[in-house]
Symmetry: C2
Subunit: 341 residues, 2 copies
């Protein structure tokens, strides 16, 4: 039975596990430092489709298919599917995943979608609501650019605080059995400290990340030292620095065990991505492609995965509104059963 440790922190007593996961990317992600961890790297960013939106839908289809195949599952063995993305009306998810015919619960958490979907999938398995549940998300540089900023053909300049939307997708299958366990989750609260610059989303998300992390430590009576890795994403350089600053005012230091997915995906020396990577697919592919396998190999035991989302739209920013952020946290463990928080 799930046990509430706080208002929105829940310990999953039966520790559902991630039975299988997959990550896919495109050329630039393949050339980055994590390139070799992707299950599939497309040389053609259209993924054989005739529009960027359809390409992103195809990515969701491919990544779920790959995760199912790696685990030896058929779609019929999934009781539930949690998915979302950045596109208007989350069409990568609905169009990309419709052919699987799995009961579908659509989410919108912007770039926090991987932790939101993984949290809900894990809770469904924990509570016996699903035998197995899938969590899927994606982003595509080209569909995001033309929707959030400018058509690619325009060649708009990007300020140094801007992040590069990853062309990437991740999927995880949660169930009972062997694998990396989901121990505890904390659902985040929306935070808005008044950032109005849509080219600085890291700063807009950092307060939410700090809030969720502090809530988790407080509710679980644990400290950064209890974890091998605290993985945020996608805060990028600017957001990461602000997160450290916000946590330090509360006396919490994480820098010796913290990584941000936005700073892991690309080589910022060689790849022109400014403040780092972003997009739902960034944290999803870093988690599913690199971190979960590393946990299985024993490189990390206790990991806090906290994807962060900026809940804005171009319309609201054009209307002068600030950018609310949210961050959901999932505590993953490769330590086997029986460990107490």
């Amino acid at each position: 039975m799930a046990k509430k440790l706080g208002r929105s922190t829940i310990r999953l007593e039966s520790s559902p596990v991630i039975l299988s996961s997959a990550a896919i990317g495109s050329k630039m992600e393949g050339e980055g430092p994590l390139g070799r961890y992707f299950d599939y790297v497309a040389s053609d960013p259209t993924f054989g489709e005739e529009s960027w939106e359809k390409a992103e839908g195809k990515m969701q289809q491919l990544v779920l298919q790959t995760a199912l195949q790696k685990g030896g599952f058929s779609p019929e063995e999934m009781d539930c599917l949690f998915a979302g993305d950045l596109l208007n009306q989350c069409v990568s998810s609905s169009y990309g995943l419709r052919s699987f015919e799995i009961p579908f619960l659509g989410l919108y958490g912007a770039c926090s979608t991987m932790s939101e979907s993984l949290m809900l999938a894990s809770l469904f398995v924990e509570c016996g609501l699903a035998r197995r549940a899938a969590a899927v998300t994606s982003s595509h540089f080209c569909s995001a650019e033309r929707q959030f900023r400018f058509p690619l053909e325009y060649g708009g300049q990007r300020p140094p605080s801007a992040q590069w939307t990853a062309t990437a997708a991740g999927a995880a299958i949660v169930g009972k059995g062997k694998g990396v366990a989901v121990r505890t989750v904390t659902a985040g609260t929306i935070r808005d400290l008044g950032i109005t610059d849509a080219n600085n989303m890291g700063a807009a998300m950092a307060p939410a990340a700090a809030s969720t992390l502090l809530t988790f430590f407080s509710d679980t009576c644990t400290h950064p030292a209890d974890y091998d890795l605290i993985l945020t994403g996608d805060l990028g350089q600017v957001g990461r620095d602000l997160l450290y600053e916000l946590l330090e005012t509360e006396g919490v230091r994480i820098s010796d065990r913290h990584e941000d997915c936005g700073l892991l995906l690309y080589d910022r020396e060689k790849q022109d991505v400014h403040a780092g990577a972003s997009g739902c697919g960034c944290s999803a592919s870093v988690l599913c492609g690199s971190i979960l396998p590393a946990m299985s190999r024993g490189e990390y035991r206790e990991v806090l995965f906290m994807a962060t989302g900026a809940l804005m739209s171009p319309t609201m920013v054009q209307q002068g509104e600030s950018i609310p952020g949210v961050a959901h946290l999932v505590h993953l463990s490769a330590s086997g059963r029986g460990r107490e928080e």
Copy 2:
């Protein structure tokens, strides 16, 4: 403990209840046949805001505030908030609800959001993941028109199959105690029968409605006659007729106990809404404003509430894609404890 009756049909053994609910609308909804059931009818569709998007955010704020007040709750007493809407990046929900500081799980289910959010809120309470959880959604005619179709100033003509997006919002607070109980839920699967006309969304959603309803009857071993009211929404006239047709091929007749929220909200003789109402706020306000109170008064005992969503975006329709639909079902009961399905 929740009990699985099928792949995605779950019986809530502890029967969480709807402790409080609220509905708000604007002038046209106030003039419709359900006008007197709204908690608040705005004479000014801007709700005092300077844009349609901000107006819709204000509606979500108002409707949750009202539901909390009617139940005598503070925001701090809510452990979790499930919300979504039709606007790009679901900004009515994130901007409208950020000030409550309730742990926030964003959804995208298009017009199925009221049943998706109510289902998840109920499951969270059932499984002890939340003491109380809120479900909120909205739509606004003016923000939807300019996003999905044309700016109002353009004065575009609407075909007879088109539906009118309701300027309305609904909120429900789920917890333990006295109220209308949530007995059973069925999460829907995406269905796409190839409808490509964005002015005929009822037809696009009807296959999903039929599929979820048939799954529910099969999983619960019940029949239409076991329920006093089967409430879909928002299928409108065209979608309702198609739903009847699809169900009849399976030998199921519901017409003597079926209503569609899209056909209840407005007086189609006097109000120029073509095939009926639509928008997340349509089924949300019909349920929260009219049906739940009627159940409390004993007018209905067993009600199946199934909001339906068309998971398209203007971009995908412009690219020639068909429109996938989804429908989630919630069985509500005013019969008190102990009744078996």
